[in-house]
């Protein structure tokens, strides 16, 4: 079965095509276009316009790259949510149009669960992980328990990526700020104390963000602040992930989301995993960030386990929670 997935929850629009290869996911193509705002954060309507402008082209490009034709596509999936309304509506419309014109079934899927499933699908021996999902909008610790994907910890205010971007914008770095902050942090070993906020399994970043901005105002060195932000936030993320692993007694940890590209975060989670005799997994970069392949793969899993969706039911859900998904493809 060949599944085509369209992703568009936030700043990226992407089309991926995957195939079921003995229960594993083979990615045939995965084309990603990222909207870069001229200034400030993501403007939802501008992002949606960007997606509308590119989606037809990357659909064609993706099919070409996969070496198939549109007739070979057996299923069309799209990101149903959570995400920005205008963006979701744009790619859902593209998904419906494609599904109707090809006369192939449609499937709206949960973006967060897709991040986890692409890890299980593409990485050997990644079977039942705790996912630390760190992106701009989302920061969640997700694991499978009692027949659902449950959120064991999440941010109480802003996502970690958003925290990094907001700080970056405050000091004049360009979007996306994460990689620049990572680079600057490498130049420092001087830790400035920042609030470390964990409540139960949940985590909060906005206090830390304010404190970091104050350090900057007070003339502290930018690289020292960047280093301190990374060390503090990533330690807290690693701690909640470890708590979830201890609680669920799972022996695998998977990273996902754009911030998973950060080497320091990877290193911390890997160290934690090693100390617990657990396995550490991280998908390739284009499968970590928002991408169409993961949407295609989750759609395929759902379809194969009997889920069906009519075009009439293919509405979007901006607040589509991870634990609302009926997991039919796992025991």
């Amino acid at each position: 079965m060949i599944s085509l997935g369209i992703e568009g929850t936030a700043h990226s629009v992407s089309v991926g095509i995957v195939k079921n290869d003995n229960g594993k996911c083979r990615v045939l193509s995965n084309i990603i276009k990222i909207y870069h705002p001229d200034h400030g954060g993501i403007h939802p309507r501008e992002a949606a316009n960007h997606h509308a402008g590119h989606v037809a082209d990357i659909l064609r490009e993706s099919v070409e790259k996969a070496g198939i034709s549109f007739d070979n596509v057996d299923l069309v999936s799209f990101s149903k949510g959570p995400g920005l309304g205008p963006c979701l509506r744009t790619v859902a419309t593209a998904g419906r149009a494609l599904s109707l014109s090809l006369n192939k079934p449609i499937m709206g899927v949960n973006h967060c669960v897709a991040h986890l499933e692409i890890g299980r699908g593409t990485l050997n021996s990644c079977k039942d992980p705790v996912l630390l999902y760190t992106s701009g909008a989302n920061t969640q610790v997700i694991a499978f328990a009692e027949s659902r994907y449950r959120v064991f910890g999440e941010t109480l205010d802003i996502g970690i990526g958003n925290c990094l971007d907001k700080f970056g914008r405050y000091v004049g770095l360009e979007f996306p700020c994460g990689p620049k902050i990572e680079e600057l942090a490498l130049k420092s070993r001087n830790y400035l104390e920042l609030p470390y906020s964990i409540k139960g399994m949940d985590i909060a970043f906005s206090g830390l963000l304010t404190a970091a901005e104050q350090y900057y105002q007070n003339g502290e060195k930018l690289e020292d602040i960047c280093y301190s932000i990374q060390e503090t936030t990533f330690a807290a993320l690693t701690e909640v992930t470890e708590r979830a692993m201890a609680h669920t007694e799972k022996k695998e940890v998977l990273l996902g989301g754009g911030v998973a590209s950060n080497k320091r975060l990877r290193n911390m989670v890997q160290t934690m995993a090693d100390e617990r005799d657990a396995c550490f997994f991280v998908p390739s970069k284009d499968l970590c960030i928002d991408n169409g392949a993961m949407i295609a793969w989750l759609g395929l899993l759902m379809h194969n386990s009997g889920t069906r969706m009519n075009v009439e039911e293919s509405f979007i859900d901006q607040r589509f929670r991870t634990d609302m998904v009926d997991v039919t493809w796992r025991d």
């Binding site: 009692e146 104390e193 964990i198």
Partner: protein, 203 residues
């Protein structure tokens, strides 16, 4: 060793001929020394302080015998009892209701003294013959705000929903008694819980 959690080891030991439990916080090499020391030191200190204060105000907690801040060790009484997590589902309806009421009463007592436990789950309560004991104040703090009390109860609500999903009415029993025993702002705290639920992302 009795138990190893994510944050600490719980060791069975002897202290002046008594059976005691040592809670030893584990140093983590994934975080820098500075943060590691700060967290272990402040959490050990804060936990001991809160336990002493809870006990002074009539909430059952293990008696503390010794505190070693440098190494992050609290030596405390060894309780012969059962974790509420392990027994709650197997109790009779009446016993369960009773236990939940006791829990509510105790949480109200903590909150009356502005003690926020920080991780109220059924694994952090031990039932002995006569009392529900609260353990693991490692994430606790002193805080008089309605928000903090609401978050504290919300943690328990989620724990009951996930671990005792068949008996989710338990939380209502807890709340009922909590409301009766909280001296100030009981209704506001309960309203706050609803707000926190709504505030959760994508709800």
């Amino acid at each position: 060793m009795l138990y190893q959690g994510a944050e600490a080891k719980i060791l069975l030991s002897k202290y002046m001929d008594k059976s005691v439990v040592k809670k030893q916080r584990i140093s983590k090499s994934y975080r820098i020394k500075n943060i590691d020391k700060r967290l272990i030191n402040s959490r050990t200190k804060e936990e001991a302080k809160l336990m002493i204060e809870a006990r002074k105000n009539g909430v059952a907690v293990p008696i503390i015998y010794d505190i070693d801040l440098l190494n992050g060790v609290i030596t405390m009484e060894y309780l012969q009892g059962k974790r509420v997590k392990d027994i709650l589902n197997s109790l009779s309806e009446g016993e369960r209701k009773n236990l939940c009421r006791k829990i509510g009463e105790n949480i109200a007592c903590l909150h009356n003294n502005d003690i926020i436990h920080g991780d109220i789950t059924t694994s952090n309560m031990i039932l002995t013959d006569d009392h529900v004991h609260f353990i693991d104040f490692g994430l606790g703090e002193k805080n008089s705000e309605i928000e903090a009390k609401g978050v504290d109860l919300h943690v328990l609500m989620e724990a009951i929903e996930s671990t005792h999903s068949k008996y989710s009415e338990c939380f209502n029993y807890v709340l009922e008694c909590y409301k009766k025993n909280l001296k100030q702002n009981a209704n506001q705290v309960i309203k706050k819980i609803e707000e926190i639920v709504r505030r959760g992302r994508y709800r």
